[in-house]
């Protein structure tokens, strides 16, 4: 064990130089590097936090937008549903109306058809009845029937109301009627012919010559024509009238 001052001094110098060198070459660069890395890490961490926050904000905004969109979707769906129900009600009402109209139309058509059928049946019945009556009356059309019919015609003419008589007279005056045409199915007795002429002249309000004709097509009875007025009391005209009622 010895103490050497040269070694001591060299060691002091060596160590102080080494302290200076290590400070410059090791401690300061390493600590600066570590500090820079920490700063970079902190910066990256802050950036990551910022990005994370941005992400969270975006997620929140997206969720808000989604919820708004959902609400709007629900609202639109409700509105659409309401519109669809309205449209359905409208279509149902329209359909009901069309069905009702169709039903009314069908009912009217059916009524018309039934009326036509009824009319046709009635006409046919009348025609049949007319044919039957004409065939039946042809057997009954005798001079006796004619007498009854002429008497009946005379009574009817004599019982005409004053308005009708005024109308006949006016017609005779305006028409310039010169004679009365009387047709019968059988030749009339003179007395009955006079009575008829008298009743007609009385209705006309003047004395007109009476031309008597025999027309067997009348079946039985009389037809008297005074200008535009006609007195009918014969089988043919009655049957025609009967038949015409059926046609109408």
């Amino acid at each position: 064990m010895s103490f050497d001052w040269t070694t001591f001094i060299l060691q002091v110098i060596n160590f102080l130089v080494l302290v200076w060198l290590l400070h410059r070459l090791l401690f300061r660069p390493v600590l600066r590097l570590v500090a820079e890395r920490k700063a970079a890490t902190a910066k990256a961490w802050e950036e990551a936090q910022r990005v994370k926050k941005e992400g969270e904000d975006l997620q929140k905004a997206y969720e808000n937008r989604m919820s708004l969109w959902e609400a709007e979707k629900e609202k639109a769906r409700g509105k659409l549903l309401e519109e669809m129900q309205g449209e359905r009600r409208r279509l149902e009402a329209e359909n009901d109306r069309l069905i009702q109209e169709e039903r009314e139309r069908a009912r009217a058509v059916e009524a018309h058809r039934l009326a036509a059928l009824s009319q046709e049946a009635e006409t046919r019945a009348l025609r049949i009845a007319s044919q039957f009556a004409s065939r039946f009356l042809q057997d009954l059309a005798t001079p006796d029937l004619e007498v009854k019919l002429v008497d009946r015609a005379i009574e009817e003419i004599e019982r005409l109301p004053p308005e009708k008589i005024a109308e006949i007279r006016d017609s005779v005056a305006r028409g310039g009627v010169r004679q009365i045409e009387v047709r019968t199915a059988f030749p009339l007795e003179e007395g009955r012919r006079d009575r008829l002429a008298h009743a007609l002249n009385k209705a006309c309000g003047r004395e007109l010559p009476c031309e008597c004709l025999v027309d067997p097509s009348l079946g039985a009875g009389v037809r008297a024509v005074v200008g535009g007025w006609m007195a009918r009391a014969n089988v043919k005209d009655e049957l025609l009238f009967f038949a015409s009622k059926g046609e109408a």
Partner: protein
């Protein structure tokens, strides 16, 4: 050569071999310490040129962890500007550790086995204490500490400073020398490969002594800033 001479020679206790360059003679430990200084400075220069911010190599990670551990220890102890204390304490740890471990290389002696070297290191610490203390607290506050709690405590404080410097130097020298003597005796008595286990013990001892020396230096320097630390503490209590 007797066995005792062999053991003491191996421990360097018979006097350090010297190199002579003309009339200038230097001891082997001075040469080894200088070579270690050059090697460390070169390694530091090489390291600095290869430091990378991104994707650091494995050795860089280890180095950064070691420097951060040193920095953290210094920051925990020093109340003011610990970055100015870091180079001295950090260099003490690294230098003493490597100087201790050099003794594991056959044919070389640990420079810390030379009292001149450990004395130099302790002397640096001795002067560093008032240097940093005065820088941190100012002349008056630092000197006042030597007269506290009573003025007549001054010689005891001075004696304390001197003895702790002496113990600092002798502790490191004694431990490293003792280890080398023990290994030399074992080598002599038990044979060539038996001291291998003791070499591992030497490794532990090297680590421990480096840590103790650096830690004590740190504590002494921090003690030199005691007045400042007390002020900081009082300020903290007032603030609370």
């Amino acid at each position: 050569m007797s066995a005792a001479e062999f053991v003491l020679g191996a421990a360097g206790l018979l006097g350090q071999p010297t190199l002579r360059i003309g009339s200038f003679a230097v001891s082997e430990s001075a040469v080894t310490a200088t070579a270690l200084t050059v090697a460390l400075a070169s390694a530091a220069a090489w390291t600095r040129s290869r430091l990378r911010m991104r994707n650091p190599a494995g050795w860089q990670v280890v180095l950064e962890l070691a420097v951060q551990a040193i920095d953290s220890t210094v920051r925990d102890s020093i109340p003011k500007a610990p970055e100015r204390i870091l180079p001295l304490v950090g260099t003490l740890w690294i230098y003493i550790l490597l100087a201790n471990l050099i003794g594991l290389i056959p044919g070389l002696h640990s420079p810390t086995g030379d009292l001149s070297v450990t004395g130099a290191l302790a002397t640096i610490v001795f002067f560093a204490v008032p240097f940093y203390g005065i820088w941190a607290e100012g002349w008056a506050a630092y000197v006042r500490e030597y007269f506290a709690p009573m003025f007549w405590m001054f010689p005891f404080h001075v004696m304390s400073e001197l003895t702790r410097t002496l113990t600092l130097a002798v502790r490191l020298f004694g431990n490293m020398t003792g280890m080398e003597v023990a290994i030399g005796i074992l080598l002599l008595l038990a044979g060539f490969l038996v001291p291998v286990a003791f070499l591992f013990l030497h490794f532990i001892e090297a680590l421990l002594q480096a840590y103790i020396f650096g830690m004590l230096a740190l504590v002494y320097i921090a003690g030199g800033m005691q007045a400042l630390a007390d002020r900081e503490q009082r300020k903290g209590e007032t603030t609370r």
